[in-house]
Amino acid sequence: MQNKLLQTLKATISSIIVALFITGLLILVINLFFGQEIGEIFSLVNKVSITIDENKEVAETTISKEENKLINYPEYGTQYATIQIDKIDVNLPVYFGDTLEILKKGVGHSSGSYFPGEGGSIIYMGHNSKKVFRRFGELQIGNEIKVTTSYGDYTYKIYDMKLIKETETDKLPIQKEKEILMIYTCYPFNNIGYTTQRYVVYAELEK
C-alpha cells in the first residue's frame, strides 16, 4: 500500500516538475522578448503610485533662536498657525502652501517666504470672501495682527497698506533683514468675477 502511494506520488511530482518547467520557460521567453516593455509599464504605473507611510511620526516644529531658523518645517498643506486680527474679527487657521484647496480652508502661507520668527519676509494670502478678508479695507496703520504658532506667538503692527497689480511681485519683496508680515487679498473686495488687483497689508514684528 505504501509502495503504491509512493508510486502515485512519484508520477504526480514528475508531472508537476514538467508543468513548472513549462511555466518557467514561458516566463523566461516573455521576459526575454517583452521584459523591457513590461518594465516600462511598471515604472509608468509606479510614477502615479504614492506610498504613504502611516507609521511616520510628524516631528514637532521648533525654532532655533540663535540661527533664526525653524527646525522641522511644517509639511506642505498642513495648518501650523492661527492668525488673529481683532479689528476686523478675523481668527483663521494658517496653512503652509497657497493652493486653491488650502485657500478654501483659511489663510495660505506662500512657500517661498519665511516663517514667523525667522526674521524675514512672511507672505500670507486669503480670499476676499466674508469668511476671510472681506473687511480688509477697514484696517488702519497701528492695528495689531497676532500669529500663534506651535513654537511661539508673534505680534505684528501694521505700518502700511498698498494697492498693487497682481503682476507686481516686487511689491512683496523676499528679504531676511527685517521680519515683515505681508498679507494680501483680491481687490475690489466685493467685486464679481476675476480681479487683477491685490490689497496688501504690511506689518512689522512688534514683540
Binding site: V18, S129, K130
Partner: protein, 282 residues
Amino acid sequence: MKVLTNIIRFILMVIITITIITFSIIAIVSSTILDKNYIISKLEETNFYEETYKLVESNFENYIYQSGLDETVLENICSQEKVKEDINIILSNIYDGTNQKIDTTVIAENLNNNIDKLGIKTSKNASAIDKFVDHICEEYKDTLIHTSYEDNLNTAYNKIVKIGNQVTTMTIITFIIALVLIIIISIKCAEKSVRNIGISLFSAGTFNIIVNKIILSKINVDGIKIFNDTFSKSLVTIIQEVLSEVLKSGIIIMSLGLVFIIIYAIIQLFKKDKKKLQTEEK
C-alpha cells in the same frame, strides 16, 4: 521516434498552456474592464457618484471665493442624480460609442436664478457674472471625468474588443487542434492525454498565480493616484479585483490540473497492477 513524439508532445503542451492562459485573461478582462455594467456596479460600490458630487461642489467653492459672490448662489444648482446621469452618459460614450454631450443648461439656470434672487446683477457686472456662470459649467464638465478622453477611449475600446474577439477565435481553434493532436499522439496510451492536459492546466494556473504575485510585488496598487481621489479609489478597486480574479483563476486552473495529474497517476498504478497480475497468472 519516441524522442520526436515526446518533443512534439511537449510543444503541444506548451501551446495548450498558452491558449489556456490567453483564454483565462481574455475572459477576466471581458467580464471586468470591458464590461460597462461591471464598471457601473464598481462605481456604485465605491460611492463614485456620491464622491464626485461632493468634489463638484467643492470645486465650485474654489470659484466662489475668487468671484466675490456670496456662497449661497451655489445652493442646489446641481444634484447627485444629475452627476450620476452625466457620468453614465460618459460611460455610454466610451463603451457604446454614443455621442451625447453633457448638458449644463440646468446648472446655469439654477445659478442664474440664485444670483437674481440676491439682486446684485447690474449692467456693469453682468458680463462678469455671465463669465462666472460659464466657468462653473466648465468646471462641472471637467470635474466629472476628463471628458476630452472620451473619443480616444471609445476608439481604444472598440479596437481592444475587435482584437479580443479575433484572439479568442484563434485561441479556441489552436486549443482544439492541439488537443486533438495530443490525443492522436497518445492514442495507444489514452491516459497520457489526461496527464498532458493536466500538466498544461497546472502550468497555466501556476503562470497566472506568478503573474499576480509579480505585479503586486512591482506595483503599489493601493497608492495609484490619477486625476483625483474619487477616481483613483474606484480605479484601485477595479485593478485589485482584476488581479484577484487572475489569482482565483490561477488557483482553480492549477487545482484542476492537479486533479488530472493525480487521475493519471492512479490509472497508471492500476495498469501496473493489472500487468503484474497478468504476468503472475502466466
